[in-house]
């Protein structure tokens, strides 16, 4: 498998704190790469670095071989990287459909922006497809702010999908969800990993071990271990540092 997103020696320092230290990883389409680790291990910082939201102190990021380091998040997004946020980050006063449609529109060139929006626009149908993939087809016309917490988490992923990315960075998509919803999400994540390169940051170990193809364990900003779920489960270092009795 050829890597579509490559991080090489990424580091990020916040004052005296080295939040991410020399992390390298590669994401390929068809693969779900899970990143786990205790709170403060640098997982969210890593996602923010990969999405271009934060500048790395050292290291570089390549998408399809192009160096995109320091280009800014909106340019990285245009290179085909979609992300969801740990804390729901949407337009609550707009409809569910408009939330997703704006993500589609992000790829329209400046000249195309002076077209008036019609009901049958291409952007509308792409947004509807993304919404139906995350199970929100019925709620398309609702105001996003009126959705339940679980539906908002679905919309987070729907918006990321609507941008038609090749790479999906999902930062704790299951935050605050019950066990039944986790089940549905696991199915969705498996489906998404078929035609995307997925990076999943998640605390729910049942889901992570059920869906991941590869795993990276982080501790204090460093990569502790990287390998298949079986290898991670068997690793003594990981057990000591993080998983403990939970596996």
């Amino acid at each position: 498998m050829t890597a579509i997103l490559q991080a090489i020696g990424l580091s990020r320092r916040f004052g005296g704190l080295l939040a991410v230290a020399d992390v390298s990883l590669a994401l390929a389409v068809g693969e779900l790469h899970a990143v786990i680790g205790p709170n403060g291990a640098g997982k969210s910082t890593l996602v923010n670095l990969l999405a271009g939201e934060l500048l790395p102190t050292a290291g570089s990021i390549r998408i399809d071989g192009d160096d995109v380091t320091g280009r800014g998040n909106w340019r990285v997004a245009r290179c085909g990287v979609g992300r969801s946020f740990q804390r729901t980050n949407l337009m609550p006063q707009m409809t569910v459909l408009e939330n997703a449609r704006l993500a589609v529109q992000a790829r329209v060139s400046a000249r195309g922006l002076l077209r008036t929006l019609r009901r049958d626009d291409a952007s509308v149908s792409i947004a509807r497809i993304a919404l139906s993939r995350v199970g929100l087809a019925e709620s398309a016309d609702r105001i996003a702010g009126t959705l339940s917490h679980g539906q908002l988490r679905q919309l987070e992923i729907g918006v990321a999908l609507a941008g038609q990315p090749k790479v999906l960075l999902l930062d704790e998509p299951l935050a605050g969800m019950g066990p039944e919803e986790s089940e549905t999400f696991a199915t969705l994540l498996r489906e998404l990993s078929r035609d995307h390169a997925v990076l999943l940051v998640e605390h729910d170990m049942d889901v992570v071990f059920a869906v991941a193809h590869r795993m990276t364990v982080m501790l204090d900003g460093r990569v502790l271990e990287c390998g298949t779920p079986e290898a991670i489960r068997a690793s003594a270092a990981v057990r000591d540092a993080y998983l403990g009795h939970s596996v």
Partner: protein, 315 residues
């Protein structure tokens, strides 16, 4: 910010007809008053693209209004006579838009309160350019030659008698075209992107929108529209002074937007009509006109969350 429904636009069209018919029933004084209100409406409408559209509260808007007005004077100095309105109107819009294009990249590096302060600073800088240098004719202002209403030797002769009627209809035409253009603009993908920025700028950026460029485009269009409003003011008054660029005029436009309704594109039009009316009534009943204005606006803002445009008649 929503755009008026077809029924809402019909109501606005009827109001426009009532204004267009003023020469049949109203005095010249009242027609002049309506012209003043319509120019205020154009000015506030230009600001509404920023405030209601993209959520950018700017205090530099009067600077672009003033530049549009001064452009008429400067153009007349360059051409050595009264220019045609077909030349002066685009010139005012372009020069004001150009000023916005120069200021925008700096001002747009800031957001929220800091954007407010940065635009205040840039606005005041431009104010002092006209106040303290000889560029525009000095601190006291200058009387200007009105642009000619026509071109290529054919022009409408302005007399003291027909002036209120001609200006009334001209201002109505410009206001109508400006509103229609903004109504269309807010329905384009660009307009939708602005609303997205107002709702959640960070997420728009994360989606891949070039937020800075979108905001700059809005800032320039709004500046050009304010320039058009300034042009109409200069035409109306045949006089320009640096006060046109002062920050309190920007604040007044914000007040009109707030009074009319921040959540509706046509809010500023209703706001400007109401604001002019309140001032007029206040003047007729007391010498403390500003006190009446203040109290009415305070009441309107406290009681009407979405301004006058938010009033729903029981059906």
């Amino acid at each position: 910010m929503r755009c008026a429904s077809p029924r809402g636009n019909l109501a606005l069209a009827l109001a426009a007809l009532a204004i267009a018919a003023m020469p049949f029933y109203a005095s010249p004084y009242h027609m002049q008053l309506a012209s003043t209100a319509m120019i205020a409406a154009m000015f506030a409408l230009s600001l509404q693209l920023l405030v209601g559209g993209a959520g950018m509260v700017s205090l530099a808007q009067a600077a672009f209004f003033g530049i549009g007005a001064y452009a008429v004077h400067l153009l007349a100095r360059v051409t050595g006579g009264a220019p045609s309105i077909l030349l002066s109107l685009p010139a005012s819009a372009s020069i004001a838009g150009l000023a916005a294009l120069l200021i925008g990249p700096f001002a747009l590096r800031t957001r929220g309160f800091f954007f407010l302060m940065t635009t205040l600073a840039f606005g005041q800088m431009l104010f002092f350019v006209f106040h303290d240098t000889s560029l525009g004719g000095g601190a006291d202002g200058v009387f200007i030659q009105r642009p000619v209403l026509g071109a290529f030797g054919v022009a409408l002769e302005l007399t003291r008698a027909n002036r209120p009627t001609v200006f009334l209809l001209l201002n109505l035409l410009v206001l109508t075209v400006m509103y229609a253009a903004l109504w269309w603009l807010m329905r384009t993908l660009f307009g939708h992107a602005l609303l997205g920025i107002r709702a959640n700028e960070d997420r728009m950026r994360a989606m891949g929108h070039d937020v800075l460029r979108l905001k700059l485009a809005a800032f320039v269009v709004a500046g050009a529209l304010a320039g058009i409003a300034g042009h109409m003011a200069a035409l109306n008054d045949a006089f320009v002074n640096p006060e046109l660029l002062g920050w309190h005029r920007s604040a007044e436009a914000l007040l009109i937007v707030l009074l009319g309704g921040i959540a509706a594109l046509h809010g500023p039009i209703l706001g400007a009509l109401a604001y002019t009316l309140i001032g007029e009534i206040g003047q007729s009943i007391t010498e403390r006109q500003r006190l009446v204005e203040g109290l009415v606006i305070l009441a309107a803002v406290l009681l009407l969350r979405n301004g006058i445009a938010g009033i729903r008649l029981p059906t």
